[in-house]
Symmetry: C5
Subunit: 354 residues, 5 copies
């Protein structure tokens, strides 16, 4: 399947709001877990059936429902019905080709994010779509595939590190987005190191496959860019939304997150410029070096071609060739050859080709 | 006829509002069909004459009048007179070189869209102009050529799938635009797959005709881009219009459609960037490979040229050439040749040209 | 004179508002004509002296005064004095290097337009400046040179085709601008056809002068672009002006005209992109084809150079060369040559240079 | 000194508002002149000391104080003290590396302009900074070096040409800016002519130094561009300022000036595009022509290399070479050579390389 | 460590607001100094412990606390607690990878700046982050490493030069930012001189390593650009903030600073354009010169190849070659060679390759 766009043609002509999973099945079994907490207590539970989650939602504690794997549309459907989510929103959560966005309703806020990470060999960025639904006292996270990204956050909730237990679901939503942003920075560190390596190898050695590598990195930066720009706009929309679901105390954190996205964009754009410059430099250097090779070699060849011609003349077998019988004919011709070669070298020097 | 612009010169100097069909006749006979429906019943009919459609319009049901083929301007004229459409609007519907746009009046909304599809061999996008006129209880669609694009929609109306029978003509208009957007996604899937194929063949083999293919795809993306940007603006204008013809319940669907157009633009722009990068990579790779070939070959040639010159010298027929009569002259010259060749190879290695 | 800018240096240091004709004299005699019409009657007259026009202006009919040729500044001066036009406006009308613009005053609206047309051999766009002054019951058009562009419009007035006789001078102004826009479309048709031809010849044959032609077309598109962008802005300013000189009924026509200018801009930008893409493709194709030629040729040369060297060795005249007297020496050397040539071909094939 | 930025490092760490002249001393002596005029009378005087100017300022006439040469900071200091100008403003006037700008205060308006002119050999634009201080009844112009640019303006004042004597100091300020704009047009005329010449020489002959000339012109256009964009913004700010120092009657003149700056920008941008296009065309043409040369030459070389090899074979001195003793061996070999050459030519023709 | 982004991965998953120093330790010991002044008196003190600074803050004088070295997070923590700074702000101050920004609170204003300077060999820009916290009667500057940048400012405070002692902490903040801007200008002077040198060496000689140097300079300009754009936006935000911490008297100075940042941006952008143009010129010149070399050389080679072939023919050892026994065969062949060479030269001249 192409990375540019996922197979959506199965949806062509379907009624809008039909729940169809668009994407690749990244996990064999859907995993559902729920964490419920307030300032005093925490409870974590892995669920076998989605209906087990509903009692948590009724309780006054903050409930975080995390679904990993989206290919069982029935689960999503049940959540949607129980929490009264608009079918178009559910459709968006299942369409993993969504661009990051935010939609603010009276009862809930819907956020689509891209969780980015490098593949194991660090040559390709893989993208998992995470949809967040922030309600009055709950957060639902719908994750395309299984990941341990949220583990440090769950630790912080359990061990009561920082402010997370004292704050509401809006802060939890922020914390999830913050962790995803941390991964963006990690990817940029990786890219930054690669650029550093490329730059050095450009100055000191010329590997021919570096071209493909620079191009590959440029393409990855393109995909990163595609994810971060709408993410920034979403954060901006969220912090200006004046939704009652976002408490005033959380705003500085969103502001900080917004700053991070701007910083990421800044680095991404600089990385693009650097990579473009490196491509140009590589090509110029290659062509320069090639030119130099060709020049010296051609000069050598050109000096010898007339000489070989002279030798060819006196290699002819005519019965009457007066020079051949001269006693010093041979040395005269050798001398002539030296003169011709010398004259050409002088000419090349004068023209500054040597 | 050029794809850039259609023959309009026949209209030069004509009075504005004159109904002239600008475009190619894509169907021999104009086909007119009407569907009339409400929550309870559906009626579909193919008409021989446009006047048969007018009784439907008077009935309280929602009427969808679909005209395929625009070259009989008289039909359009009659519709215009009956429904009281401004002549400039009718002129726009007949000028199939229109860019997508929307015009909002008190009594009706006029929408111009481009129905895009790949040609059979999938190398060229063909474009059909579809104009929609949304009135209080009717929708008129004026289609440049015959197509079965709307068939799934008609099925949904007949079989009562989804919400379409419960909603008004604004939802029908939305549904038509949604289907057209589905085709855009389909084209992008095709383009995405082609890009994937190109990328692989760039890394592993170098076909020389790939250049023309990439360029061709780039041009198609350009035409897609030309259609989608004004389409996005039109949807935006529509959802912000506050026209009484658009019911509040339909707004989330328009919002969703707007999101789709943004997503399409996003993919189109990424496709452009990828194609540009691929072109650059192809050219750099070609030139790189060429350079390598030339380098090795030139080096080989340059080593042999001085050697051939030496052989030439001792092939001369001078009567007095002392070296020729030396017993080991031949082997001395062979040795000299080895020395020269060796020295050049050492020199090339030192200069890192080998 | 340069097409980029006209000779204005004669005006350096002059007092602002001095009437100086900047441009080339395109007609030997200034031609002045006047048309006066209302719903009932039409009168057309060619004038010898500008003062003959003034009685028409006083009459209640709509008066269209058309001056072709601007080099007699006295005429412009008289019109300005009679109609109370600001001297800076008259200066602008005489400076034929003006960019399209609009200026809205209480008593009149001043519009500068560029009438574009292809030269006879269709390789260069020529530009005539047309200034329009729209007053309460008159329109003055000041045209740089003679042209028959307005003839169809005059016909429509005389023969009462369309709405023109029933509307005011604002509609007449619109009609003039509409005709000028028709010429823009005509030029674009020409350009579109040329692009089509270029594209075909790029794929099937490679004429070397096509480069200059593409560049020339690109330059013409640049000049077209320079004229259309400010034209669009002018129309926009006019339709948003809320001037009492523009009647409400004329607004849809201006809206339509505005759409046309946007469409022209759209096509112009697409044409630019296509031409740039074609230039790139041409250059890549040329360089590709050249590379191919060079590669095969160099390979042939490189195979024969070592062979020629071997032949050279055995052409040497040393008295003691043991191989020469061997019975099968000749065939052995021929065999060696075959081996060397074969080895090189195998090497080239392995390296995929063949 | 670099043209990009002037030596400011002498100011590093100094207190803001310290008066230091940044630039080159362009005139040995500072020249101060004053013109005082109203509708009835004019008085012009060259001053030895700046204090002589102060009585003029007190008189009710309009006073224009013109200082040419800014390296004597004491003079500027005295003017500042007498007219109560903020030290930061004076600092800006002395820093001749300022970009054009305008600052509007209650008592005066401060304008920085760049007076541009070609050097004598017309290859480089030289820039003189002119600062204007417009007060209630005076104008102070601080000019970096001596120039006769304002002479026609002084003439107009003295001889009462145009409106200048009837208007206030705001009109005088406008007139000064208008003259400076006239010089911009003059420079563009020069550039336009050069472009015309370049274009012709590109099509008909290929001088290799044209590359440096086009690049040089492009750089000059860059500097012109750097001066005109902020100038336009300044005029815009001035005409929208609603300062009481700008009378309503002067506004149309500022509007006209604003139009001129837009026109200049338009021409500058077109010139840039044309120059870029010309550079591309030059490079493409050169590479095309080179390719053609190389192709034909390589083909010639390639035909002869195998032939020379054949000749080399029969030049070998083996004692047993059966062909040598054949009667028609020589002609057979000549025939073989013709065949080989013919076959290669046919092959080249088929591949369309010939 | 990469220059693009600093190692932040240690922060991944940490609670927001955790104080972690991101960057390199640039100084072994943290240095804390405090200056306290008003119109009458000055006091300067180097502190061993941060708590010594707190009594100063309580006093009515203006207190400037300068911390050089940020790796001891405990110090920052204590300052934050004492002055009641939000933990997210402290986190930003410690993250030396921040982009310039400003945050305005009721009690204090937080400013992040980049102090730029050239490395000693002037080939790389090094960047130190400086954070400023402006309170009601104090300024805290948190500097990444030790520097003597602020020394002239301290001198001015001690010696009472300029206005600094008469103004409040807002003016001190301005003065710090002004000094940092002076360094930007200094860097630009250096860049300007390098560009001047490059330009000259481009026209007169062609050093091959100039390519790497131009590329390096371009990269430095990129980093400068990355620092100055957000700096400009920060100044703009500050001067429009209407914060009570910024007194009205300081506004003209901020306006002046804003002008400086715009000027820096202007120069940076021009430098970029110049460098890009120079790269292009270099590459074109190189390729042009190379083409010329290749052309002349190839022509020489091509003339001699057919001649050598002719000599080869008459070097063949056939027993029957009639020409060999002709008396003037040798001279006839020499004549033939002259003819062939002459014909080729004429052909080349006609084709304008010579």
């Amino acid at each position: 399947m192409s990375r540019l766009i996922k197979k959506r043609s199965q949806k062509k002509g379907l009624s809008p709001g039909s729940l169809v999973f668009v994407g690749t099945k990244k996990t064999p079994r859907v995993q559902i877990s729920v964490i419920s907490y307030n300032q005093e207590k925490v409870e974590e539970k892995n669920l076998k059936d989605i209906t087990e989650a509903f009692p948590f939602k009724k309780s006054p504690e903050i409930t975080w429902l995390n679904v990993e794997g989206l290919h069982e549309t029935e689960i999503i459907n049940k959540i949607g019905e129980y929490c009264k989510i608009h079918p178009l929103i559910l459709e968006d959560a299942l369409n993993t080709d969504q661009r990051p966005k935010i939609e603010i309703f009276d009862d809930y806020i819907f956020i689509v994010l891209k969780m980015l990470n490098f593949e194991e060999n660090k040559s390709k960025i893989i993208s998992n779509q995470v949809s967040l639904i922030l309600g009055k006292d709950f957060v639902i996270s719908l994750d395309e595939g299984p990941s341990n990204v949220f583990d440090p956050l769950i630790e912080r909730i359990k061990k009561r590190v920082g402010r997370i237990r004292d704050r509401g679901p809006d802060y939890l939503t922020y914390a999830i987005m913050d962790i995803i942003t941390d991964y963006y920075f990690m990817i940029l560190e990786e890219i930054g190191e690669k650029i550093e390596i490329f730059e050095k190898s450009l100055l000191f050695e010329q590997k021919s496959n570096i071209l493909n590598e620079i191009y590959g990195l440029k393409r990855e930066v393109l995909f990163l860019r595609k994810a971060i720009w709408p993410f920034r706009d979403s954060i901006n929309k969220l912090k200006k939304s004046e939704s009652s679901l976002i408490k005033k105390k959380t705003l500085p954190y969103l502001e900080d997150l917004y700053d991070h996205t701007i910083q990421i964009i800044d680095i991404v754009e600089t990385a693009r410029d650097l990579l473009s410059g490196m491509l140009d430099l590589y090509l110029s250097n290659t062509s320069n070096r090639m030119n130099e090779v060709m020049k010296v070699l051609t000069i050598i060849a050109t000096i010898f071609i007339p000489l070989t011609f002279i030798a060819g003349i006196y290699g002819m077998n005519f019965s009457f060739m007066p020079e051949l019988s001269w006693s010093f004919g041979y040395f005269a011709v050798l001398g002539l050859m030296f003169l011709v070669a010398g004259a050409m070298i002088v000419y090349f020097k004068k023209k500054r080709w040597l």
